[in-house]
Amino acid sequence: MDLWLLYSLMKKSRLFEEAVTQLWEDGLISGEMHLGTGEEAIIAGVVSQLCPGDAMAVDHRGSAAFLMRGVDPTLLLHEMLGHEDGLCGGQGGHMHLFSKEHLAATSGIIGAVGPAALGFALAAQTLRPGSIAVAFFGEGAMNQGMLMESINLAALWNLPVLFVCKDDGWAITTQPGESTKSGMGERACGLGVPYVGVDGLDVEQVWQATRQAIERARSGNGPTFLHAHCVHLEGHFLGLILLRITRAPLRELPGIVGALIRSFMHPGGGSLRERIAGVRYILSSILATWRDPRRYSTNDPLERVQTALVSNPARLKELDSRIEAEISSALASAQQEVVA
């Protein structure tokens, strides 16, 4: 395990997504934008171990995985800006990234990574023995039938798949307690796949667990379910209402609260008790966001790994500036085209 390499992958992804955020804030990227900031340790720990011929099925948070897999950041940025020279000619956008060369595909349909990884692994088993497929998805996706079906089938057919569940404790505004009755270990067991739980903020742990799982898969011993907790520092997507409220309550709350109060007071409807229960739900979502570990920098996986490397500040600095240069140049190229 080369911690420097892992760090550089994570750092690159972070800087890239900061650039994306800027473009998005400037209105140059349209529609939704889901970032992977906060899950970089999971992606790096897994993607750094992929070989040529391995395939990736990625969900709506595709940038980090694509970038770490070696897709050119300029191509990615151009894609997000909708340029014709983007990775997909501007036709895909951040939720529909595809690189045939890297056997890497995303889908904005929750759970679709399951069938995709299954198919990739089937092709690997037949055409490229020793190659594997990875699926990245969130804990919310685990209630999508097709993902459950796919895990069972991968286990049954003994396919070389690594199912990676990035559990950030949120599916947009819904928490696991509202969506999943069983524990994730039980869910995996009920689908016939071995379960490994790791701290997704710790890239070394992810790397170690992944190494074993990948080895199993490569040597024909079937799939593994890797469950890794993380925090999405920017929330579900840029501009998420819950995060906006906690970050700028004075700006955001008045508009929301006025309508809530009018509705709460409106004659006709539930009992006072029911109404209060409704208010409680909203308050507790806001409080959960407030208290969310994402607010503590100790939960930033990048800072964690950095701590392990500060003993060599010169190398770190040099590495940082190399990555910064790469991303800045991609950003500059993207912005240049916008101007033109």
């Binding site: 349909i109 505004t173 539930g270 409704g278």
Partner: protein, 335 residues
Amino acid sequence: MTTMNFSEAIDDALAQAMSEDPRIILFGEDVPMLRRNLLVRFGPKRVRATPISESAFLGAGVAAAMAGLRPVVELYMVDFLGVSMDALLNQASKLETFSGGKWTAPVVVRAPCGGGYGDGGQHEQSLWGWLAHIPGLTVIVPSTPEDAGGLMYAALQHDGPVVFLEHKLLSETFLEFLGSGGRLTVQFDVPAEGRRGPVPHKWKPLPIGKAVLRREGRDVTLASLGVGVHRALEAAEFLEKDGVSASVLDLRTVSPLDKTALCEAVARTGNLLVVDEDYEGFGLSGELSAVVLEAGISCKYARVCTQTTIPYARKMEDQVLPNVNRIRTTAMTLL
């Protein structure tokens, strides 16, 4: 008369219906947060969050309707019917026939649809013609706040399954939630009359299956629905300057289709231009030509629809979705 935003009007009609009929419940992903105003008035038993299990909760909505409730099931977007189509294709739509006319499922499936804000082809489909293909489904696509509220109110009293599609460009709430996300730096081509408009003080059901003529004209009939109606109206203004008088028919419901209104409108001008944001082939636009031909009306015909998967880039997207310019130039080819 007050004025309301498009989704506000729908939620208002829904609230009125919920206060009148305790059998109405709402569920779907993030619904407590998305419909928070209803949540604090009707409580968490009637406004529920679901897991990302569309097949389960959509099918549950159908069965709950069979067993006496009046569920409004929300999908995040109509595109996500891909994973849960069985509930509509094989269950809800077929119940009345299968039961010999003795049982129906009065479920309302509410889903945002349509594009124009840069999410790309997996999240911006219209699919109303696709849904209307299935016998037994009612498909509603309103274009103004007044229609949206009145038709939602009617849907809640309807005896069978209704798909109620809410164009995202008209829904300020949704657009803000997904597309702009609090920044002021993006702008979408939102038709003003669709976004906000007058609404009645008390909702009454609008008739399902009745089109409305939004503009009278002599030379060509533009038939459309949803955002397309506003694009057609805008194109009609331009055509007026070109010396062409266009009428604009707002279908409002796809199924049942108001064949009478369509045939009358086309018979008057002799030219039919369909403006349909759904895919061109094998859908609504073709159906309209068939209805007119079947009625023995001879006319010239053209259509401005979505022909391919909707690309992500805003510029390309604008070309692929029916835009004012395409409507205008295509209309001219008919004359």
